[in-house]
């Protein structure tokens, strides 16, 4: 069992003198039918900064959740060795006791509490159960100094910027005697100065012997500070690169991140592209809470009849926000811009009007936003177009049942009958119910947001087939996806979105993952 795990790693880890502080061996983890991690091996040396890179959905966050005990021992296969001993974490407290601290992308601070209260939320210094405020204040000050903050410990979290909040999170980690610090996209929401300060801090930690794992999409930052880089792809380890063995090429990282077999996963189709059907010009939207943040910036796009247009981009690029603001202003505020269907300007001021105008939006989150899970298939399918199964406001239940049965057959929804609760269906079948609901509205323009998220390969193929049929029926189809191969596999044209703007456009036949990644990365480098 303690046989060297290097056999299972495609690219053996370079020999090093000391045993690693952390070793994860043969980790596999599934969610239902979806395999998120398969036989991942990953080793971190004491005192190094180890970067973990990969596409969205490659399994980085899942791997870190396995490590920190969010997914407890027993819910995955494989073993975790820390300090050379096998560990079985039941929850996050177990891993924290050993000094493994994870800082998530979405910060876990309580906005209306002070810095000091947040840092010592679980373990405030106390005498007889009463919090010792002076001691807490003293310790907070010392911790803030270490991360280079001069804010008063009494300051409320909501009153300091995101960059400083990130530093408070790190100070909180330091308060727990951190030995292995895991940062999930720490600089994703930071500006240049804050990012530089954070990277500087990580280097300082390395000098003091603290080990860090950094998950990031920003390859320039990674090549700047990482000692070693492990690449994940499709839930597998592609390999680990040693930055001290020679200069690491960013293109090489990208190639390893995205390279994979595309054959036979996408149904073939001969596109029959017609005239422009749907046109968006200068579309802008601002964040609903932070009204100064423009999330969608003067975006324009055209979609032709029978064309499938993909929108690619990293998480937080503004793709969903763009789609939802378009669809009846269901996201954001101060929305401006024009949308035209067949050259006629549309009134999209609320969802009802957007549906009437011929738009349909299939949400990325089918359970939270797409389905009424307690209701049956039939009622979900008719929900967005009850007018189609009713007369003078009274529902004709036979007509409704027939519509549902027709879609059940056409979409191959696997269920006992149309009266089955949608909450009890598999992810793929749920997605087919959502698609049915929108097809029943008879849309001209279909926007599909992550249409195959979390569903198995077989169901994905069926969904792609449905998308192709829609395009062949002359509809304008827009697919938003974080899975680049999916976009390349099904789209006629791919628009690349980054920070609320379209930064590139790739025609279907020229689309490669390198092309798309490069468009994003080029933009990132230019910004910095």
């Amino acid at each position: 069992m303690l046989d060297p795990s290097t056999n299972t790693v495609p690219h053996p880890i370079p020999p090093v003198e000391k045993p690693p502080i952390l070793e994860m061996r043969g980790i596999s983890k599934s969610f239902g039918a979806v395999k998120a991690l398969s036989d991942v091996s990953f080793a971190v040396q004491e005192g190094e900064i180890h970067a973990l890179v990969g596409e969205n959905g490659a399994g980085k966050s899942t791997l870190m959740k396995v490590l920190s005990g969010v997914y407890p021992h027993g819910s995955y296969e494989g073993s975790i060795l820390f300090d050379g001993e096998e560990r079985q974490f039941r929850d996050i407290n177990d891993s924290e006791k050993l000094g493994i601290i994870i800082i998530h992308q979405e910060l876990a601070l309580i906005p209306l509490m002070s810095i000091a209260e947040n840092i010592f939320l679980h373990s405030a210094p106390s005498k007889f159960g009463i919090i010792d405020r002076d001691e807490r204040r003293r310790r907070t000050k010392a911790l803030l100094e270490k991360v280079g903050l001069t804010e008063a410990p009494e300051m409320l979290i909501t009153n300091i910027g995101v960059g400083k909040q990130q530093m408070v999170e790190i100070a909180k980690a330091l308060s727990k005697d951190v030995r292995l610090l895991i940062l999930d996209e720490p600089t994703a929401s930071l500006n240049e100065t804050d990012s530089a300060a954070l990277l500087e801090l990580l280097k300082e930690f390395r000098r003091r012997g603290i080990t860090s794992i950094m998950i990031s999409h920003k390859l320039n930052e990674i090549t700047e500070i990482a000692d070693r880089i492990t690449v994940l792809r499709d839930g597998r380890t592609v390999g680990t690169m040693d930055c001290h063995a020679g200069p690491v090429d960013e293109d090489e990282i990208v190639r390893r991140m995205v390279d994979r077999d595309l054959e036979s996963r996408y149904p073939k189709r001969e596109p029959k592209i017609g005239d422009v059907v749907f046109e968006v010009e200068n579309w802008s939207a601002f964040h609903p809470l932070h009204s100064e943040r423009q999330v969608v910036k003067n975006v324009s796009m055209k979609v032709r009849a029978g064309e499938i247009v993909g929108i690619s981009g990293l998480m937080g690029a503004g793709r969903t926000e763009f789609a939802m603001s378009l669809f009846g202003r269901s996201w954001g505020r101060h929305i401006t811009g024009t949308a035209k269907l067949h050259g006629k300007e549309l009134d999209l001021s609320d969802v009802h009007k957007a549906i009437k105008a011929g738009l349909a939006y299939v949400t990325e989150d089918r359970k939270q936003l797409g389905l009424v899970l307690a209701e049956d298939i039939r009622k979900n399918i008719s929900l967005a177009h009850l007018g189609g199964v009713s007369k003078r406001g009274v529902i004709d239940d036979i007509a409704e049942m027939k519509v549902a049965q027709e879609f059940r057959g056409r979409m191959r929804i696997r269920s006992h009958n149309v009266y089955q609760e949608t909450g009890k269906l598999s992810g793929g079948n749920q997605q087919k119910v959502v698609l049915s609901k929108w097809l029943f509205t008879g849309p001209e323009v279909l926007i599909l947001d992550e249409p195959t998220r979390g569903i198995d390969v077989g169901a994905k193929y069926e969904i792609y087939t449905i998308i192709n049929e829609l395009a062949d029926a002359g509809k304008a189809v827009v697919v938003i996806s974080s899975e680049m191969p999916e976009l390349i596999g099904i789209c006629d044209r791919i628009m690349v979105m980054h920070e609320g703007e379209f930064v590139g456009e790739v025609a279907g036949e020229q689309a490669t993952q390198e092309n798309i990644m490069r468009a994003i990365m080029r933009r990132k480098v230019r910004e910095q």
Partner: protein, 397 residues
């Protein structure tokens, strides 16, 4: 339709599952029957005497009327704590209009219902559009309208009313056929016609469904259910007819129950209300105007609370500052006992009505048995808790 074998195979596949799926509805009716039978045994049949049965209907009419509105509010995921105060307040306003100002009772009643709608609209505006939690808005409403009611009444009871207004609660439908002795034939005929109509309806619906290959309940269950429904209604009609005939308020209740059952089950707006309660975000993204729907459910509740206030005032023949106290609890309990979910999206009009009568029969039965008001409260509380526990347990399976 591309795969016809699916549709024909479905009924056999799930025939056995029918009981389980409809357990909630049958379960409710069976519990009500069981409780009636238990009390009939314990009270040596007193509970089923014509006079007492008529009283149960009169005593619980206001709970049933308000439960119809409350059910829809609970289905949208909200709550209304103000209905007792609103009912009392509007009863008071009606009394002031009719007694000191001598306004015709019809006009006064209409004004009262409009006022109820306005009160509902005011509360609904805060809840639907300003997104203030309904618990808080209606808690405030509960205090505000209790206070306003005492102001309007000047801390004293106002009455008595015009006899024609009293008939709203204590009147009975006129007898058209000259009756022999003390049996009210017209009431009995109406009852039998209702029973025949309900059986005919369910038969029609079954035939229609079967002709389109839709799964229906097993034939034996269908016949059994209809025999029981027919028998119960005919028996109740017989009992009522041997006292003083059908109370006016029973006719009002019957019409309202039928209207709301149809509205919630069969109309587009009714369906949308369930969708809002089941998943507000998904409903919104399906083009449903969720805020407007929530607003109107509160307006509706206000009107029904107004009607209930008038019924209570007419029954007591005076509006008192105490009227309506604690009604909201009976109404909310009726909905939850009747299978409505506290999380929204689930609940039926028939369930809420059965829940209201279940509480009413228990109140009445326990009073006849001479159980103290203190112990009655304990038992009612435990029944509410038990009913919801059973429901939650059934959901988890």
């Amino acid at each position: 339709m591309s795969n016809p074998s699916n549709t024909t195979a479905a009924p056999q596949q799930r025939g056995t599952g029918f009981w389980k799926d409809n357990l909630r509805e049958y379960g409710m009716l069976i519990s009500l029957l069981a409780i009636v039978l238990i009390f009939a045994y314990l009270t040596n049949g007193v509970i089923l005497r014509p006079l007492n049965l008529t009283n149960i209907i009169l005593q619980n009419s206001y709970v049933v009327i308000m439960a119809l509105g409350m059910l829809m509010i609970i289905v949208t995921g909200h709550i209304d704590l103000s209905v007792g105060s609103v009912a009392g307040f509007i009863g008071g306003v009606g009394a002031v209009l009719m007694v000191p100002y001598h306004i015709d009772f019809g006009v006064a009643a209409l004004l009262c219902l409009i006022l109820g709608g306005i009160i509902g609209a005011a509360q609904g505006y805060f809840i639907a559009y300003l997104k203030i939690p309904s618990f808080i808005v209606t808690l405030a409403g509960m205090l505000v309208f209790r206070g306003l009611m005492i102001t309007v009444l000047g801390s004293q009871a106002i009455g008595p009313f015009d006899p024609s207004f009293q008939k709203l609660s204590s009147g009975f439908i006129p007898e058209l056929i000259s009756s022999e002795g003390s049996f009210y034939v017209t009431s009995f005929i109406i009852g039998i016609l209702l029973a025949v109509f309900l059986v005919w309806q369910s038969f029609q619906s079954r035939v229609r469904h079967l002709s389109h290959g839709v799964e229906t309940e097993p034939l034996a269950l269908f016949i059994g259910k209809n025999v029981v429904v027919f028998g119960i209604i005919a028996y109740i009609a017989y009992l009522i007819s041997s006292y003083r005939g059908m109370p006016n308020v029973l006719i009002i209740m019957g019409v309202l129950i039928a209207a709301y059952a149809f509205f919630t089950n069969r109309t587009v707006i009714g369906r949308q209300i369930y969708a809002v309660g089941g998943n507000a975000k998904a409903a919104e993204l399906s083009g449903i105007k969720t805020q407007r729907l929530v607003f109107w459910t509160f307006v509706n509740m206000g009107v029904l609370a107004g009607l209930a206030g008038l019924v209570v005032a007419a029954r007591l023949n005076s509006a008192t500052p105490k009227a309506g106290t604690g009604f909201e609890l009976d109404v909310i309990a009726a909905c939850f006992i009747g299978g409505a979910s506290a999380y929204g999206g689930v609940g039926k009009v028939t369930g809420a009505v059965i829940g209201a009568f279940l509480m009413g029969v228990m109140n009445n039965g326990m009073s006849i048995l001479g159980i103290g008001i203190d112990l009655q409260q304990v038992i009612k509380g435990l029944v509410l808790l038990g009913a919801v526990c059973v429901d939650v347990y059934n959901q988890r399976r």
